[in-house]
């Protein structure tokens, strides 16, 4: 069964460093998303992406964040200058259409020291 994959599973970085989290959505999906979950808190929406542009973003998704679909299969989230409060589990998700179920990847645990 097709699934969303994410790499790496765990990333440790120093405050101020740039990180890129990678995702491979399900192949026939057209909508892509990033969510994050700070330990012990709710899953929070960051951004949605369709047709090579951001379709919706949250207040969390500020200028430090960017997303890209560099090729036909990968979808990336870049954090330019990480802060301690960026430590969280980051989930990528994808869906065939906007209004239907989103399928989530296993997540990347980001630890900022």
């Amino acid at each position: 069964e097709p699934e969303v994959t994410q790499t790496p599973s765990h990333q440790v970085t120093q405050m101020g460093q740039e990180v890129i989290l990678r995702c491979v959505p399900i192949s026939n999906h057209l909508y892509f998303y990033w969510y994050r979950q700070i330990l012990g808190q709710k899953v929070e929406f960051l951004v949605s992406f369709y047709n090579n542009e951001i379709s919706e973003k949250s207040e969390i998704f500020d200028d430090q964040f960017s997303v890209e679909r560099p090729d036909g299969s990968n979808f990336t989230l870049k954090i330019r200058s990480t802060k301690l409060e960026d430590s969280a589990m980051y989930f990528c998700a994808s869906s065939v259409q906007r209004e239907i179920e989103q399928f989530f990847g296993p997540g990347t645990r980001l630890t900022v020291l």
């Binding site: 969303v4 909508y31 998303y33 969510y35 709710k42 899953v43 929070e44 929406f45 949605s48 379709s55 919706e56 949250s58 589990m89 989930f91 998700a93 869906s95 906007r98 209004e99 239907i100 179920e101 989103q102 399928f103 989530f104 990847g105 296993p106 997540g107 645990r109």
Partner: protein
């Protein structure tokens, strides 16, 4: 107040017992999604409900969306240890395109 309330926050049931988890939105919703999460892992999609009164079942899990489309219940019949995990309710609210807003989750433990 929270946009989305889930209750209870946690639940311990004996294997074989039935249980119900509730999700209530303070705003009009256009879609409600139930997911299951194991600690430290990704979200597994269970069911999507879009129409008031809609009811869906998958194996021993049944979810229903009430007529006014602001509340859903998830019912597990004859619980098993494999049902243990965190059940998350996510909603697509009016005025948003595809963003899902999640509740705090219900942590379910099933004892032998």
């Amino acid at each position: 107040s929270q946009e989305l309330e889930q209750s209870p926050q946690s639940l311990i049931v004996q294997e074989g017992k039935n249980l119900t988890i509730n999700c209530t939105s303070s705003k009009t919703l256009y879609g409600l999604y139930w997911y299951k999460q194991k600690y430290g892992e990704g979200l597994i999609f269970l069911m999507m409900l879009q129409k008031g009164g809609e009811e869906k079942s998958h194996e021993k899990i049944t979810a229903k969306l009430d007529e006014k489309k602001q509340q859903s219940s998830l019912h597990i019949t004859a619980s098993q240890p494999s049902h243990a995990g965190i059940y998350l309710c996510g909603v697509r609210l009016a005025g948003t395109a595809s963003k899902l807003t999640f509740g705090t989750g219900t942590r379910l433990q099933v004892t032998l």
